[in-house]
């Protein structure tokens, strides 16, 4: 029994590192069955999925491009979940940030990009926080379940975007696929590598991850957030203003997701479209879970999901499989990780006995 206990205290780091890899392996084994059902050779598919995107410079950069918003939604969800606030609304908050970005891009002109880009980021943050405000207030004031309200807000913003694109922001550029007017040069995000889609949002996202990590682990507010996340009542009895802590966490989470949206408009699309996100906020939930809500672990997790998103396109191009293979892998991976994390916990439990 004592021997087991030692193992429990010395091994978590190894286990924690192995578990995500084991989960990924199991996911791809099960995906093989789906591939074989759709008459695709799994080995060939996995080559295009995981290896091909990393083998050329252009597609490698594309992985980083796809990871950029995922860094932000992943860390946004981690921050909220770590505080015990189930923000499922990163999707809507991202779109709110994108909408603000498109609006700012139409207004702010004739200034340096070093003025325009910060305005985009602040605007995206405020819009995302605003979209997170109603569910957060209902939560702390009336104890209304935030899961349902944040989810429903994701649909409301889609109709708002649809209204803007078919009304005040209507353009004739691309009939059938409505889009807003192009943003100004002042608000266009600077490229990190010329002639690629990799923009400064990538660096901004990494900085934000470091800031959130510092906030959660090194500050009093972060301590209060984690305490509220572990047990609301216990935190309350130690004198923490739990409602205030959760409100701040919810708004920060929404704001960070909003920056992701503004960066997608400023760095990738240069206008607002209805299908701007397509699930980046929901993928953020998977990334947060894969990272065990650790902001620093969001970096490798989001890079991996950037690879999956790029890889799904690469498989689709090469073998003609539906692009939704990426979604299947992501959803299955989430379920398997949940099970795998438990396996670690369960072994510890049995040791205790």
């Amino acid at each position: 029994m004592i021997k087991f206990r030692l193992e429990k205290h010395s091994s978590p780091y190894w286990v924690r590192i192995i578990i995500p890899f084991a989960a990924i392996l199991v996911t791809f084994l099960i995906t093989s069955i789906i591939l074989m059902v759709s008459h695709v050779n799994p080995i060939e598919a996995f080559y295009y999925f995981l290896v091909e995107p990393l083998s050329a410079k252009a597609s490698l950069i594309e992985v980083l491009v796809k990871s950029t918003p995922l860094f932000l939604t992943g860390v946004a969800v981690s921050l909220a979940f770590a505080s015990g606030y189930w923000n499922i609304g990163a999707e809507g908050q991202l779109i709110a940030g994108a909408t603000a970005g498109a609006g700012i891009g139409m207004i702010v002109q004739g200034v340096s990009q070093w003025v325009g880009i910060p305005i985009m980021i602040i605007g995206g943050f405020l819009a995302g926080a605003l979209w997170a405000l109603l569910p957060a207030i209902l939560k702390v004031k009336l104890s209304v379940d935030e899961i349902v309200t944040t989810l429903l807000m994701n649909y409301v913003i889609l109709y708002l975007v649809s209204f803007l694109l078919n009304g005040p922001w209507k353009t004739t550029t691309n009939p059938g696929w409505p889009q807003s007017p192009e943003i100004s040069l002042s608000t266009t995000f600077v490229k990190l590598i010329p002639k690629t889609r990799l923009h400064i949002g990538f660096v901004i996202a990494l900085v934000i991850i470091l800031v959130v990590w510092f906030l959660l682990t090194k500050t009093k507010l972060g301590y209060q957030m984690r305490a509220s996340g572990i047990g609301r009542q216990a935190a309350y009895f130690t004198g923490i203003n739990v409602n205030r802590t959760i409100l701040i966490s919810a708004l920060l989470s929404g704001g960070i997701a909003g920056i992701a949206g503004a960066a997608e408009v400023g760095g990738i699309h240069y206008h607002l479209i209805e299908a701007l996100s397509g699930g980046l906020g929901y993928t953020g939930i998977i990334i947060a879970t894969l990272s065990a809500l650790n902001p620093l672990a969001v970096i490798p997790s989001a890079l991996f999901f950037g690879l999956i998103e790029t890889g799904a396109r690469s498989v689709s191009r090469a073998l003609g499989t539906p692009i939704h293979l990426g979604g299947i892998v992501e959803g299955m991976l989430l379920l398997i990780i949940l099970g795998a994390f438990l396996f670690q916990e369960y072994r510890i439990r049995r040791v205790k006995k």
């Binding site: 189930w86 569910p135 989810l151 539906p322 293979l325 979604g327 299947i328 992501e330 989430l334 379920l335």
Partner: protein, 308 residues
């Protein structure tokens, strides 16, 4: 406007409310079973999506709408089983498991759709269920009573489910494992299996809700056709305070808001239709805020049970 045209509008509104409420009633009944047993099933949205897809594809391939419905219910039962493996047998976080199942099943449906139908420019349609006429068509009220058989079934289900949940042994067990699993276990009832069965029944109803949409209400399958109706059901169950008898009012509220926005659009009122479309979601949020603190969820909800 004459009295008669006002009547026609009101009658049309009631008829549309009943139709739009049907999938919400079915989905909420499904969620009721899960939550009464102590499991919040956020897999509802994905289960409705896969139900709509399987129902449509099977009906399209076999030419039999009822075969589509049955296979769709079967798929929902399997989805419920998957949810039970995660939350009952492994006992992992219910929020994230449910979302994972929704993401997974939605992706499976989209993948399957592309495999079966490719990339059509217009979504595939079929001749869905037709309405049943109970009263002669020349009566104004017949516009209300001309509904799909499944709408009548959904309405009839509410007293039946009330009876099952409150008056039968299986209903007692399901409620008991959601309130006090330790005591039920001590009384010799298997908590794990009771919850598993509740989730499987629930999944069946959720998939039925989805296939009603694709085989009756719309007669078509498109991406994103469920459009958050599963989440609305999660809200309705809170609004109904977990009472089967109160499901109807919440469903009529959302269904009524949806029907009203359709009517207002058709009346040509000069307000952007997108704002009308978001109305039902906002009404649901407002209803949740009003229900506020007065609701009480089953006391063991979200708590995995582990036998000592």
């Amino acid at each position: 406007m004459t009295d008669n045209s006002v009547m026609i509008i009101i009658v049309g509104l009631i008829a549309a409310t009943l139709r739009v409420s049907t999938p919400l009633i079915l989905g909420t009944i499904g969620e009721l079973f899960c939550e009464k047993s102590g499991v919040l099933n956020l897999g509802i949205e994905g289960t409705m999506v896969i139900g709509a897809f399987i129902g449509f594809t099977v009906a399209d391939a076999t030419g039999s709408l009822w075969t589509g419905i049955l296979v769709s219910i079967l798929a929902g039962i399997i989805a419920g089983l998957l949810m039970s493996i995660m939350t009952v047998w492994l006992g992992v976080n219910q929020h994230v498991s449910g979302l994972g199942i929704t993401l997974f099943l939605s992706a499976i449906a989209s993948y399957g759709y592309r495999l079966v139908y490719g990339e059509p420019t217009t979504p595939p349609t079929l001749d869905g269920f037709s309405v049943v006429s109970i009263l002669p068509d020349n009566l104004l009220v017949s516009r209300i009573t001309n509904q799909y058989l499944l709408t009548y079934i959904a309405l009839l289900l509410i007293p039946i489910i009330w009876f099952i949940v409150n008056k039968t042994r299986i209903g007692l067990w399901i409620r008991a494992v959601g309130e006090n699993p330790e005591a039920v276990d001590a009384a010799g009832v298997n908590v794990y299996w009771t919850r598993t069965i509740a989730l499987m029944i629930g999944g069946g109803f959720m998939a039925l809700a989805g296939s009603f949409l694709s085989l009756a209400q719309l007669g078509a399958y498109t991406y994103g056709m469920i459009a958050g109706r599963g989440w609305v059901c999660i809200a309705l169950i809170i609004f109904a305070n977990w009472q089967p008898s109160r499901i109807l009012w919440g469903a009529f509220l959302f269904g009524g808001a949806s029907a009203l926005q359709l009517r207002l659009q058709s009346l040509g009122i000069k307000v952007p239709y997108e704002l009308f479309l978001s109305l039902p979601y906002l009404v649901t949020i407002a209803a949740l805020a009003l229900a506020g603190r007065s609701v009480t969820s089953p006391s063991s909800m979200l708590k995995p049970y582990r036998r000592e």
